[in-house]
């Protein structure tokens, strides 16, 4: 048995690893079932106690409840993170390809456009649809073909054509970066789980939003120009009494009672357990006030809860009409792997909107080596800005993009000419982000949706069920056939096939790869083709036996002689898998991936798993029956 020990340990290790990697997927599945049944009973009880409740209201309550269940148990969160990722076609969601509309951008950038230019632009736009070249270079060559210089329309008169082209292309890529930040910002606020937003090539953005049930809502996230506003933040001595009132109301205390209890409370705080504190101070238990940060901090997962608190009518009553609470766009601090977001109280009315900003630039201050951002405004904006800054020296002014606060710098002096310097960024990257944000509201370069695929959750679930059933039926059919045809050796091949599927799934989970519907098809196909290696080997062994060899020798030479055929054929298939992966998009890549993983796993199963099993059987004197 010694000769098999290494291989057996190897196999056991792989199986154990795969099972270990797959466990979270199983755990996630059973957690989801548990949560679902819990939610159903909650829904029923709410309906029973309040039959007139509207569907929208109910689903909002249920969603909140689900979030709080998921957050309360770290095991649930952990399982969700480590499970086999499902593609958009299986879990439902939205896939979008967006492209910056360069023609519109050029139209906005051009100075003194004549009819000629507009015609050329139109032609260039048409041509770019079918051409590899981009609009900028097509337009440039068209203008040059007319014997004109680009400086006639862009830049200043002394600029060389190449410089202008380079600058226009930079503007184009700037527009993409800005659009990505705007989308990121909206998606983060909306709370989409596992969004994927990435740049593709020079002008495209790919957005993947899993699990968005209502496509319209998703599109709302992406459409419309961004709104950049400057809003004055409220001082703590204004904000704290309001938050105290909110806290009291949420704890269920009436006005007078609360006042009398208030002083007493603060003395007792130290003696309270965490739960008591949460009960007494529902607001402050999740909006954490500390001495070293000017604004309350809220954990990432608690933001929804705060928002729902703030939207209760009795709470809205105590918030003055002219102010509102806004969250920071990025975590203010990160501690113990937990992101904390600042909660700002700001004036509802914006002092200025981003339309007045003409330019912004991130830089390093040569004197202090600190990261800073220069911000420039047009004359009208500068006049307003001078008045605003003059009247509010010492106060903070929040820079708000689509309702999220990116920064709240202090106004140090009156800024008369519209060119401001913003300080206090951690590093140049943070400054660059602020630069993007400041420009977001300024220059409209529309981003068009050029491809859009939405899968509803019900179709996704259907696909999962159909995929699962097909895999099961396919496996059973092949397994029965193999036993029927190869008898005991067939059983061994079936065992190997079973391991192959476990390995494939384990690898998918381990590498955090995404399983798509075509990916499931790839696994099903692998089931059919994985036995091929075993079939080749078994047929060869039969042939070798027919030439009069002993069983042991026949097995030996059967494996040796099949090796080249199996190797060559699988390598070529693997190549097509690679090509498919390179050229395919989302779902098709999933197919290519499982096909390639399937090839590797089935080779391992054929050459290691079945071989050990068969050799062990013959060594132990069990008669190998290959039908």
């Amino acid at each position: 048995m010694k000769e098999f020990r290494f291989k057996l340990i190897l196999i056991a290790a792989f199986v154990a690893l795969s099972v270990y990697l797959l466990y979270p997927t199983y755990a996630d599945y059973s957690f989801t079932n548990e949560i679902e049944s819990e939610l159903t009973s909650i829904t029923d009880s709410i309906r029973a106690s309040n039959p007139t409740i509207s569907d929208a209201k109910l689903s909002q309550i249920i969603e909140l409840k689900e979030d709080s269940i998921r957050i309360s148990n770290p095991a649930i969160k952990n399982a969700r993170e480590k499970r086999v990722k499902l593609g958009l076609d299986l879990q439902g969601g939205m896939y979008l390809v967006m492209e910056v509309n360069t023609a519109k951008l050029l139209e906005n950038l051009v100075k003194n456009p004549d009819e000629d230019f507009m015609n050329l632009l139109k032609e260039a736009e048409e041509e770019s649809r079918i051409s590899e070249e981009n609009v900028v270079s097509i337009l440039a060559s068209k203008i040059q073909a007319q014997g004109k210089r680009l400086s006639r329309y862009f830049g200043s008169i002394r600029d060389e054509d190449e410089d202008i082209i380079a600058r226009l292309e930079e503007q184009e890529s700037d527009a993409v970066t800005r659009a990505i930040e705007i989308i990121n910002n909206r998606v983060n606020q909306y709370g989409v789980s596992e969004p994927n937003i990435q740049k593709q090539g020079a002008r495209r953005i790919i957005v993947e939003l899993p699990g968005i049930a209502k496509e319209e809502e998703a599109k709302r996230l992406l459409q419309g120009s961004a709104l950049l506003e400057f809003k004055l933040t409220k001082e703590p001595d204004f904000a704290i009494p309001i938050m105290n009132r909110i806290d009291e109301i949420l704890a269920g205390k009436t006005g007078e009672e609360a006042d009398s209890l208030n002083t007493q409370d603060s003395a007792d705080v130290a003696d309270m357990t965490e739960e008591e504190f949460a009960k007494e101070h529902p607001f402050y238990s999740i909006a954490l006030v500390s001495t070293n940060y000017p604004y309350p901090l809220v954990k990432e997962n608690d933001r929804d809860k705060i928002m729902s608190y703030l939207s209760r009518p009795e709470v809205m009553n105590v918030i003055p009409d002219n102010v509102e609470f806004l969250f920071g766009a990025k975590p203010a601090i990160t501690q113990d792997n937990e992101n904390y977001f600042a909660l700002y109280l700001v004036n509802k009315e914006a002092e200025l909107t981003g339309g007045v900003i003409t330019d912004a630039q991130a830089n390093i201050d040569p004197q202090t080596t600190q990261a800073i951002v220069y911000m420039y405004m047009d004359s009208e904006g500068a006049r307003e800005w001078s008045r605003i800054t003059g009247a509010n020296i010492g106060k903070n002014c929040a820079i708000v993009l689509d309702g999220a606060v990116y920064s709240a710098p202090r106004i140090n002096t009156k800024i008369p000419n519209g060119s401001s310097v913003i300080e206090g960024m951690e590093d140049l990257n943070e400054a660059k982000l602020l630069e993007i944000v400041l420009k977001a509201g300024a220059l409209p370069a529309p981003v068009d949706i050029i491809e859009e695929r939405t899968v509803g959750p019900s179709l996704g679930q259907d696909s999962i069920n159909q995929g699962f059933n097909s895999t099961l039926i396919g496996f059973i059919l092949v397994a029965i056939f193999m036993i029927f045809y190869y008898r005991r050796a067939g059983t061994v091949a079936d065992l190997a096939l079973f391991f192959t599927i476990i390995f494939i799934m384990g690898i998918l989970a381990g590498f955090q790869a995404t399983l798509t519907l075509p990916g499931i098809a790839g696994i099903i196909l692998t089931i059919g083709m994985a036995v091929d290696a075993n079939v080749i080997i078994y047929e060869r062994i039969r042939e070798e036996i027919a030439t009069g060899k002993t069983i042991k020798a026949a097995i030996e030479s059967g494996y040796t002689n099949s090796y080249s055929a199996i190797f060559d054929s699988n390598i070529t298939t693997f190549f097509t898998g690679i090509i498919l992966y390179q050229f395919g998009s989302g779902p098709v890549q999933g197919f290519a991936l499982t096909l390639m993983i399937g090839i590797v796993c089935s080779l391992f199963s054929a050459f290691v798993v079945t071989r050990v099993a068969i050799e062990m059987m013959t060594a132990k004197g069990i008669k190998l029956n290959i039908g």
Binding site: D89, E215, V478, Y485, P518, G528, T572, L580, F591, A592
Partner: protein, 375 residues
């Protein structure tokens, strides 16, 4: 159990029949591709496609009648997974100008319902969106929510502006929601592919299939001899062309079978290439082995013996693969049907081409160039 053991059939001598058979299929397919064309899905053509699931069974012809009156030209309506599901497709990406008026009045009707007699201003009109301007921010916000509830996509902008987006799919949904009010539906799937993307996907797919053939040619040329590599690739090309021809011949003929060329069908073609080459390599491997052992034997004999010896494996692997692909075709759902069909047919044609196209080619090549192939 043993099947096809100790076969001794002179496959090569029957190659002339195979040439006629393959030739006929190829010519028929090509004629059909030229005359009938291929039914390209929106992946390649560009267009909009939505799958709806109704609460109750829905009549396709009713939906078709309603949709033919909305001015979007030819709209395809098919069943999609059972009698409550339909698939609607149009090549249009944007609503034609002459229909836009009807769309506008539909939107304005909704606005009237919320705020009767309200002052509104159309600020901008593009081919898929209208921007209104209203008196106050609160009106804009309220309308944004209300219009959104009836299924329109809205976003409120600066200066009390409200952008209402209406794509082709939105317009179709809007019409059906109104016309077939007693049978509510949910959107199962909605795809919208721009013509540019469609063109790119088409180009990428052709490159992918061509590249796969080239890579296989190079690899097999390296592992075997050029004659074998060329034979294998010609067989693969033969498989792809005949399957493509079949897609052209049969689309629209078998009810319930959706034979349009989509991205997943291209994936199936590449898989078919992978499967067919598997088969070919295994026979060639045996030919190579035979040629090493029986150096003096005529090549026909080596090839024939290789085909005969590997026949049990060829049949059994084809069977197991056929099992699972048939399962996919039957149980895999609407989305994978075209994919599964391409593979079912591909398994037959792939197995056939190995024996009757790839192997005879090697023989013909050796004879034509009077070349002695050896390893």
């Amino acid at each position: 159990m043993r099947l096809f053991e100790n076969l001794n059939i002179d496959f090569l001598s029957k190659r002339k029949f195979a040439y006629i058979f393959s030739g006929t299929l190829l010519v028929l397919g090509l004629i059909s591709i030229v005359l009938r064309g291929l039914e390209l899905g929106i992946d390649f053509k560009g267009g909009s496609e939505i799958a709806l699931k109704f609460e109750n069974p829905i009549s396709i012809s009713e939906v078709r009648d309603e949709l033919n009156q909305i001015g979007l030209g030819n709209i395809e309506v098919k069943t999609f997974g059972g009698e409550t599901g339909i698939l609607i497709r149009t090549e249009l990406q944007t609503i034609p100008e002459n229909v836009f008026g009807r769309v506008t009045s539909a939107i304005e009707k909704h606005i009237e319902e919320v705020f009767p007699g309200i002052q509104k201003n159309i600020v901008e009109k593009t081919n898929d969106a209208i921007t209104y301007q209203f008196e106050s921010d609160s009106i804009t916000k309220e309308l944004s929510t209300e219009l959104f509830k009836v299924g329109l996509q809205t976003s409120s902008l600066q200066d009390n502006k409200l952008l209402v987006r209406v794509g082709v799919a939105d317009w179709i949904e809007e019409v059906l929601r109104e016309k077939i009010a007693d049978n509510r539906f949910v959107v199962q799937k909605a795809d919208n592919v721009g013509p540019k993307i469609g063109g790119e996907l088409k180009r990428d797919s052709i490159i992918a299939v061509a590249l796969a053939l080239i890579v296989i040619l190079v690899y097999l040329g390296f592992r075997f001899k050029f004659a074998f590599a060329l034979g294998a690739v010609i067989a693969l090309f033969h498989d792809v062309m005949i399957t493509l021809g079949l897609f052209s011949l049969l689309y629209g003929i078998i009810p319930g079978l959706n034979l349009e060329i989509s991205i997943s069908v291209v994936a199936a073609f590449l898989t078919l290439v992978g499967y067919s080459i598997n088969d070919t390599v295994i026979i060639f491997d045996r030919v190579r082995e035979n040629m090493k052992i029986h150096k003096t034997a005529p090549i026909e004999q080596n090839i024939n013996s290789a085909i005969n010896k590997t026949m049990p494996r060829t049949i059994i692997t084809s069977l197991t693969t056929l099992f699972v692909v048939a399962v996919l075709l039957i149980f895999g759902g609407e989305v994978l049907r075209g994919f599964a069909f391409a593979l079912v047919f591909g398994i037959f044609i792939g197995t056939y081409s190995t024996v009757f196209v790839a192997s005879p080619f090697v023989l013909e090549y050796a004879r034509r160039f009077k070349k002695k192939l050896e390893f």
